[in-house]
């Protein structure tokens, strides 16, 4: 088990390393000299600073080594547009994306599980079909379009939720009281709901299938035969085993969340990594974009690693077999 984990960890590190290398070469070849293209030359101070960092006239492999050492020290470069280190800008933005992703995951799993179980119990009947189709529709919607519609209905027409931003900048620039925490959560609701709804539809489908599989198993019949109440049978015996695919989904959810976060953050003016990256694109501020891309890749890999580890812990069969997991 430990050996398997160590192997997976090494593989993850290798993947991140590969992403870093590819990014470096892509940026270097696309951009030519660090001093910008002829169409958009960088200001001389920025150019000087970049050359000090990378060594403009040194051979390519030297620049690569310098790039890696800088990364190892947490130095992701300096943003052209924001005039501050990329690492700082990302450090400010990441917690916001994280909370959004976490809240969305919560909504996703809570709703998805509930719906999946409901559908499995009512398999084949009207409830199952109705929920299934609605879930399919929601899963097919562009996530930013759903956000716009929800913003319009609940934010502007009904005024139940604020129309954007993470907080009330005057009363609660930081979360330092229960009132401010509530304010933050109130601002978080719509974006998290949007992201979570689209994911919940997919989760519900998986959960339904997993539950249906499990319900037909022998040990469930045994539990029923023993005379246990249906709810206990479902929630205690069946669910525990049907949760396994959910853990896989947890790992797969990361890329989707980051992609969705980019669009949702734009719609709701949420100051996370996605919005940072989009603004940086419009300003051709590529240090920020590549920094964000690197960081999200690392987080996706980490998410997969955690998911695999959780899966191994949850499913004794994997532990006995001594590993496996994904390629």
């Amino acid at each position: 088990m430990v050996a398997w984990l160590v192997r997976r960890l090494a593989a993850s590190i290798a993947i991140v390393f590969a992403v870093v290398t590819i990014t470096f070469f892509v940026v270097h070849f696309a951009h030519g000299t660090p001093c910008g293209t002829a169409d958009r030359p960088l200001p001389p101070e920025v150019c000087r600073q970049l050359c000090r960092r990378f060594g403009c006239d040194k051979p390519l492999w030297v620049q690569y080594v310098k790039y890696l050492t800088a990364l190892a020290h947490g130095d992701l470069g300096e943003s052209f547009g924001l005039h501050r280190p990329v690492a700082d800008a990302l450090a400010d933005a990441i917690p916001n994306t994280f909370t959004l992703a976490l809240a969305a995951l919560l909504v996703d799993f809570a709703l998805g599980l509930a719906l999946g179980i409901y559908q499995a119990v009512r398999a084949g009947r009207f409830g199952d079909v109705a929920v299934g189709n609605v879930a399919l529709l929601v899963n097919s919607m562009p996530v930013f379009w759903l956000g716009l519609v929800l913003l319009l209905v609940f934010g502007q027409w009904l005024r139940w939720f604020p129309v954007g931003g993470p907080n009330n900048p005057v009363l609660c620039p930081h979360v330092d009281s229960p009132y401010c925490l509530l304010d933050f959560l109130w601002h978080l609701t719509l974006p998290a709901l949007t992201l979570g709804l689209v994911g919940a539809a997919a989760t519900a489908r998986y959960q339904r299938a997993a539950m249906l599989d499990v319900i037909r198993q022998d040990y469930v019949w045994t539990a029923r035969a023993k005379g246990l109440r249906e709810r206990r049978v479902l929630l205690v015996h069946a669910l525990r085993n049907a949760l396994l695919p959910i853990i896989t989904l947890f790992g797969l959810a990361f890329p989707f969340l980051f992609t969705g976060a980019v669009l949702i953050e734009t719609v709701f003016a949420w100051p996370g990594m996605g919005r940072l990256a989009v603004n940086a694109i419009l300003q051709r501020d590529y240090p920020v974009v590549t920094g964000a891309a690197l960081l999200t890749s690392a987080m996706v890999v980490l998410g997969n690693l955690i998911a695999d580890a959780l899966y191994a812990v949850a499913d004794p069969r994997i532990r006995v077999r001594g590993g496996g997991g994904s390629a």
Binding site: A11, A14, I15, V16, A18, V19, I22, T23, V26, V27, A30, H31, T37, D39, R40, V129, N133, L136, L137, N139, S140, M141, P142, V143, F144, W145, L148, V149, L151, L152, Q156, F254, P255, F258, T259, V262, L263, T266, A277, V278, A280, I281, L282, R284, D285, Y286, V289, T290, A292, A293, T296, S297, V300, V301, N304, A327
Partner: protein, 299 residues
């Protein structure tokens, strides 16, 4: 619009009659949403192909700029947008762009994914390991960030390059699927027989293995087109996709976003269209999966 709907209905009904003759066809239509999904797809494809006939106005024609944002009416089926262009006409022409981009990108992704997966699954050992490591790296980067990076680095990125990139970032899942199929298929007798007869690797892959692995490729293809369309819509919404005045469902949403409060129709209908098409693709994909499932066939 009514004409297109009738045409689509006729096409689907005819298809249904023919397909139901086969066992997979019956399994396909056992799903209640499969027929509906097929109808929706046929409808949108029809109007996309017949765009010049179906659309009452040219897509970039600004009818009366002094009075934009007209609500839906008899004259303007889905209203006009902030530039006083007919939303229905733009929807119809936009179907060409959005569906086309989805299809082309999916073709690119499916081709590369199949090739890589087949090679990895057939040759195994170090070829397999290297290629699958590559796939892992590819899966690690969220697609939208890769595309954002591309747009940041190359100014004036051409549309065909963008479509190619969308395809190039989307083949990883398919390759894994194909690899799994090829891995199991290569142990079957017909492969051994073909090899014994002296067929080379390429021939074995293309003529014997892949046709039997076609089912999951087709299914993931159907589902994948939907993803590509959503990605294109997202990029166009951010202003990085199809440039104006060419209509795409994504940039139609972007055009009308700011006026949502007073003119909801400009952004709502293209979003609805995307949702319906992707939903139809998902339904059809699901039904296809059941229909083409070899396990069910054996049973």
């Amino acid at each position: 619009m009514a004409g297109a709907a009738v045409l689509a209905l006729v096409v689907v009904a005819a298809l249904r009659r023919r397909v139901r003759a086969t066992a997979p066809g019956r399994r396909f239509f056992r799903h209640p949403t499969a027929g509906l999904g097929l109808f929706v797809l046929a409808f949108f494809v029809t109007i996309a192909i017949a765009a010049p006939v179906v659309a009452p106005y040219p897509p970039h024609y600004q009818i009366d700029i002094a009075h934009p944002d007209r609500p839906p009416s008899a004259q303007f089926l889905l209203g006009t947008d902030p530039f006083s262009r007919d939303v229905w006409s733009r929807l119809v022409y936009g179907a060409r762009v959005s569906l086309g981009i989805g299809a082309v990108a999916m073709l690119v992704a499916a081709t590369i994914g199949t090739a890589v997966g087949a090679v990895a699954g057939y040759f195994r050992r170090w070829v397999d390991t290297t290629l699958m490591r590559l796939v892992d790296v590819g899966l690690a980067m969220p697609r939208i960030f890769v595309l954002l990076m591309a747009v940041a680095l190359w100014e004036h990125i051409a549309l065909w390059a963008l479509v190619l990139l969308i395809g190039l970032t989307g083949w990883f899942g398919t390759s894994r699927l194909v690899r799994a199929e090829v891995l199991s298929l290569r142990e079957r007798e017909f492969v051994a027989a073909a090899r014994a007869l002296g067929a080379g690797a390429g021939r074995v892959i293309f003529r014997h293995v892949l046709p039997n692995a076609a089912a999951p490729i087709i299914v993931s293809g159907a589902l994948g087109i939907g993803n590509m369309m959503l990605l294109e819509a997202g990029l166009s919404f951010l202003g990085l996709g199809v440039p104006s005045p060419a209509p795409s469902w994504g940039n139609m949403i972007a055009d009308g976003w700011h006026k949502m409060a007073v003119a909801w129709w400009s952004s709502t209908f293209p979003g609805l269209a995307i949702s319906l098409v992707v939903m139809a693709l998902n339904a059809v994909g699901d039904a296809l999966r059941d229909a083409l499932d070899p396990r069910k066939e054996a049973a």
